[in-house]
Amino acid sequence: MEKLSFKLNAPTRAGGTRAQAIVGVVASGNLEVLLERASPADVCTIDIATAAHGFGAVWDAVVRDFVARRAAGGLRISINDGGARPDTVALRLAQGVRLIEEREA
């Protein structure tokens, strides 16, 4: 298991008021993303535990794009990764910020 941590400046604050959201599952080629409103409004922290070693540079690129493109300010994001491809990671992160904007069901 490899652990990676990122603390990034986030230009856009996450929408909605929900305290947390969770998307995805831990499975081979998939990942679970937990988002909590637990950072300063202009910061996004991301902690990753991944089964696949040696992909630090790709994770770096994926999370930086995510924070630049999506409303991720104020979030602490924890990722449990089962070796998902970058496209799946990017989709899950996008789904996570959309879900935390939604009203609680």
Binding site: V58, A61, R85, D87, T88, A90, Q95
Partner: protein, 548 residues
Amino acid sequence: MSEWGMQKAALNERLTAGRRLATGKVVPIPKLPEFLKAVIRTGDRVCLEGDNQKQADILAAALADLDPADVSNLHMVQSGVVLPAHLDVFEKGIARRLDFSYSGPQSARIARMLFGRKIELGAVHTYLELFARYFIDLTPNVALIAAVSADKDGNLYTGPNTEDTPTVVEATSYKNGLVVAQVTEIVDKVPRVDIPGDLVHFVVEAGKPFYVEPLFTRDPAAITETQILTAMLAIKGIYAPYGVRRLNHGIGFNTAAIELLLPTYGERLGLKGKVCTHFALNPHPTLIPAIEAGWVEQVHCFGSEVGMEDYVAARPDIFFTGPDGSLRSNRAFCQTAGLYACDMFIGSTLQIDLEGHSSTVTTNRIAGFGGAPNMGSDPRGRRHPSEPWLKAGAEADPDSSAALRRGRKLVVQIGETFGDRNVPLFVERLDALELARELDLDLAPVMVYSDDVTHIVTEEGIANLLLCRNKDEREQAIRGVAGYTDIGRARDARSVGRLRQRGVITRPEDLGIDPLDADRRLLAARSIKDLMLASGALYRPPSRFRNW
């Protein structure tokens, strides 16, 4: 003066030799080896029928059992190199030269044999191109074909899988060649005459159906959320703005996802009746929900699909069917329809380079072309206008006079940035170039040339190459949808930003696509069983797809 009628005389010799082993036109199966030895001559050009679907498997096995001391140096001209026997004839020295189109399941072995110089390669063709050569410089001396049933006069019923048969028979029989058909059974009266008996010289009762591969069946259970997102991009970002009504879908999960999103996502976008009404397409099981929801007006088919026979027969308003009720497919006509009467081809590929050339050749595998390069090309001979064709033409060349401007066919490559086993879709250099160098080929096997492709769709967005004005813009547009592949990460972020402002690159968020919609619940069917239920139990999935 030359003597006329030599070919007729040669045919008569073959007929006389064959008739010694036949009763009328019927060759008993135990006599088949002796019969083939009697009618095939060393050096003959032989068409062994088989494509990516149906196979004249009994005749293929019998041909491979010949003794090369009796028959050798055959020149095989055939659509598909699919069965082991198709390559055994080269391994054994019965055949020497090969002109073909598709080699899916044999792609690794055919590559090894080409590298080992066991096969003298003529060329790899598209289906339509090889059919064309049957009438010009690759006319068969002997055609070994497959049908469902025959009567004693040789009239053939091909059933839903007519496919290449009329084309092969036309080229062979009218040019003094010999036609031999394997049939499941000999009957008093065939259900319909697909091939007239006077073009068929001999029939062999195989006692079992010819082999058919269910190549166009995709299990919805295997469709990923990334594929759903990519399909939404294609529908909202290409199908809708161009108003694409007449089209062909390539094989694959991306196009299967599009088919399954029409009755859900497409409906929500109000696109019913505005897109996807007319198809050149095999009867894809994943099209069932869209047909049942009233999206589709008409489908013409290259071939059939295993298990779809009863469904197709029950939907004659949609499909082309014969007086017997079953599907009539025809590969040559459907390829022509896909070329001239469709405004879009969309399909997946294995490698795309920085210019936009794409290829399915990867190291040590030669899968051939099949129909994709024909579907995926802009027909320069087209003259009838349509909205998508004119709009694409105007985007490519906005400054010229509208009345003198050609339209453009939409040729869309769709896929995830990383494919099977995390192999990147985007590459600096196609493996096809290496293959061409090693085999000393004049042409690298390119599936869709860069000047034909108009759009590339990945989960990261759509690159509209029609709007690129130079090589550099094109390269950055491709890098701009290449995700986290090495090619994508080496993009120039500023150029990509400018291309996005101009609408050359469109992101999911630019189209208002909600990532939460990229969910399997959006598929109109989520399993093969769902497809069967959607068909009212008319679709009968092959056993390998039944997991309930």
